[in-house]
Amino acid sequence: MVSKQVKQLDRVIIRFAGDSGDGMQLTGDRFTQESAAFGNDLSTLPNFPAEIRAPQGTLPGVSSFQVHFADHDILTPGDAPDVLVAMNPAALRANLSDLPKGATIIVDTHDFTARNLTKAGYAANPLEDNSLGDYALHTVDLTGLTVAAVKEFGLSRKDAARAKNMFALGLLSWMYGRPVESTISFLERRFAKVADIRDANITAFKSGWNFGETTEAFAVSYEIKPAPMAAGTYRNITGNLALSYGLVASGVRSGLPIFLGSYPITPASDILHELSKHKAFGVTTFQAEDEIAGIGAAIGASFAGSLGVTTTSGPGIALKSEAIGLAVMTELPLLVVDVQRGGPSTGLPTKTEQADLLQAMFGRNGEAPVPIVAPQSPGDCFDAALDAARIAVTYRTPVMLLSDGYLANGSEPWRIPEVDQLPTIDPDFATATNHVSKKSEDGEPDEFWPYLRDEETLARPWAVPGTPGLEHRIGGLEKGDGHGNISYDPANHDLMVRTRQAKVDRIADALPPLEVDDPSGRAKVLVLGWGSTYGPIGAGVRRVRKAGYHVAQAHLRHLNPFPKDLGEILERYDKVLVPEMNLGQLSMLLRAKYLVDAVGYNHVRGLPLKAAELAEAIGELVAQAEGVDVDLTAPAEEAIS
């Protein structure tokens, strides 16, 4: 056996890339789980085409999974991979431009045939023409080695070759000292019913590990120590899973049955899939005939005393707009989850974007204010869902929960909360008459007014069918203040429009102050973001600080209403930079409300913002604000995280 060198690293970014059918998402996910179990901090970025099986071997068919893991707290899946695993020529070609010079490339040579090279647009074989001279290239016949390793199981060549992703995973697991037990037990569970496939995958995985350990081609393995983390029990979690758990928790902590009315749409469908497993928590899932029926049924369920939820992406929100207006008008609790994707129209179904903010804010007829809550990381989707449920129930209003494709599919370690520490939500159903009619003889309330409001929150009573004496009718027509009967009175309409707005505005009364991270207290530039840009913004800000400059960061969870102290915070800074994956939607809201000269940093590439590029933009603004030259190249490379 060759003696192997072990090198210490503080962080690594690996991208697994292959054909859509090569199992790259599974490979990346397993590597992530191994890294999580090992105790690294991590962040992941799956990236796959909308086509289920795009033509094999072509550029559009390439699917990839990037995982960033480190011995310290990290915020993003990383800008540029240190290691690319490419299972075919298309995977190499599609990802090469993202690699910095010196990066490691591991290719499966088996698929580098003349035909596949042509499909990928290569005139010559890049493995042979020295065009990859700037990289540490490892050419391995992963497929051939896999087929040889699993020969004993008597699989067809095609089935045998399918285990090549596990061979690659084994090799990478050896290179980075990953624990292998969880993957082996995963494969045992996954293929429990097909013994030969199970054994072939486990054998391929182990063979990949052994190949790394024995072959001279790989002389070095790496160690990335566990990251220090707050005490607690952790798991790796994606945003869609965390959001689903947050909805289940909302049901448990409110005592309300959850009713999800939904129509499948990428990238939100996984929430429907997940919630359909949790009927034992009283969760009903209704796969409707269309987006409108999904929200319609959710509104009906809310009227009947459940917590109605509908999940979708931007195109679905467009279809649900009229029904959201109905929920605004009828003042019923409702959660509207928008897992944003690239738009407009069908857009980029599997890619991320933040361009539905203004749709969430204004995309309805009339004055129809809807509170907006946005999670900032995959794990944060859990808390954001609970927060949105609290607002919906407390204020009797539809609430928009704005996740996005990156949060939905990306993952990070999540400290599992104690259930008894989670907030409780009080449905506070109306049970008695609340208004004294002219007919009342004793001056006690003898009738029910569905629009008589709570003085503090302006919420109306939620009286569910089956409650005697509180029979009432609600609907989309304007209603008279208090009694709720149809009213076309001009002054009443003006009052009701203002009251519905005031109710949403009052949500801010119960919000905590906005946290501003300004360690030196001397920053003149504030970077303000919302949603999934939290990671890149945090990483960009760190890089600027590490180079010795001052910058403040704040991140909005509540987009409507804004925290009460936001205006005052904005005034404290000379410059405000607003990075968004849209063309400046939060910037527009801030400019309109606070008359602040917000500077946008906007990319709509269907991918998370890149921390290093964002740091440059922050640096430029710091230079302007402080009248100094800013040079971010001075710090060590590891500052970018």
Binding site: A37, V252, F259, A293, A297, I416, V419, D420
Partner: protein, 371 residues
């Protein structure tokens, strides 16, 4: 002649679950007044909706259900104002979506009697998708479709049930659309209860509503309803004493289908027989074929083909002839019962404190502990 549906009072079939069996009842005597809200009714004078409202207010007390356990949901249109006038729980929602909202209510709560009030535009045009899917799923609710064959609230455009060639504000040279036959559509969507009645025939209307409420699943009732302002007289042929005997083909379960001027036996001189040439049904003189040859109406036939064939006897142009009564009532599992049964069985399989189970759920999967 008024069709007699008394035999339907026995519905649902022995052993079948009733549409309202899980809805709490009251021993307190109720009257129509108890179901009348304090809101002024604002339909046009002479509108057929008044008659249906009166019939519903008169019939609801007979159900003996607790008022607070009844929910009326409507969409948009003249008829959709209906819930405001009933002192039950109610929602006047958005155009065409009432069946979806009612689906949420009915699925969330087994103890509610859920009604949808809709019109030909609301249910068949903008809301057509929700209607067919509610019927397909067989959600436990009763859908009352007020068909006046015109758009009333938007002031007189043709509707999806208007006869082709109709001159309206939006079709000065005549409408080009072929109309839907609502009963055919409901049967095509495999509705488990499909009926048609007339606003002006209170007795028949009430008997059909009773049967619809008793049916477990989606009960679909088309109600011919006159709009005196924009489509007056659309149903004159089946309302006029001079013509209605020939215009109404009454469907009574278990009885030969006969109509028209009475013959010597006192029964209708015309009847239906199977048409071996088309596979459908055709109208014959009873005297020509003999009573034994007549089609006996079987609303409980699991195969909807004959019911569909009968539904095709409805004129698609000006209405001179239409079958009236319960075309179909069959037993089929309901969506909402199934959804609740799945929840019940999942709960039984995972008993215990929800908070502990939640801790188990979120703490599942591959975990690691940092101390």
């Amino acid at each position: 002649m008024t069709p007699d549906n008394t035999s339907l009072a026995e519905l649902p079939f022995p052993g079948l679950r009733s549409g309202v069996e899980l809805v709490p009842t009251t021993d307190t005597a109720q009257t129509g007044k108890d179901f009348t809200s304090d809101q002024e009714v604002r339909w046009c004078p002479g509108c057929g909706d008044y008659a249906v409202l009166k019939a519903v207010q008169g019939f609801l007390p007979d159900l003996g259900l607790r008022r607070e356990n009844i929910v009326f949901v409507s969409g948009i249109g003249c008829s959709s104002r209906f819930p405001y006038y009933l002192d039950t729980y109610g929602m006047h929602s958005i155009h065409g979506r009432a069946p979806s909202i009612a689906t949420g209510i009915a699925t969330a709560r087994e103890d509610l009697s859920v009604w949808v009030v809709t019109g030909d535009g609301d249910a068949l045009s903008i809301g057509g998708n929700h209607l067919i899917h509610a019927l397909r799923r067989n959600v436990n609710m009763t859908i009352l479709l007020f068909n006046n064959r015109i758009y009333g609230l938007t002031k007189g455009q043709y509707s999806p049930t208007s006869e082709a060639g109709k001159i309206t504000k939006s079709t000065p040279m005549g409408s080009l659309d072929h109309p839907f036959n609502p009963v055919s559509l409901a049967l095509g969507a495999e509705g488990s209860f499909v009926a048609r009645t007339i606003d002006s025939d209170r007795k028949h209307l009430t008997s059909v509503l009773s049967a619809a409420a008793a049916h477990r699943g989606t009960s679909f009732v088309e109600i011919y309803q006159n709009c005196p302002i924009f489509n007056d007289g659309a149903f004159d042929a089946i309302k006029s004493p001079d013509t209605k005997a020939d215009a109404i083909i009454p469907l009574v379960h278990g009885e030969p289908v006969r109509f028209g001027a009475p013959d010597a036996s006192g029964l209708g001189g015309k009847g239906l027989i199977r048409d071996s040439r088309t596979g459908g049904v055709k109208i014959v003189e009873v005297a020509d074929v003999g009573e034994q040859a007549l089609l006996v109406h079987d609303a409980h036939n699991p195969d909807p083909s004959t019911a569909f064939a009968i539904s095709r006897l409805t004129d698609s142009g000006y209405l001179n002839q239409s079958p009236i009564g319960i075309f179909r009532q069959v037993e089929r599992p309901t969506y909402d019962d199934g959804a609740r049964a799945q929840i019940d069985s999942a709960r039984k399989a995972a008993p215990g404190d929800p908070e502990q189970r939640l801790a188990g759920l979120i703490g599942g999967g591959d975990t690691w502990t940092v101390v």
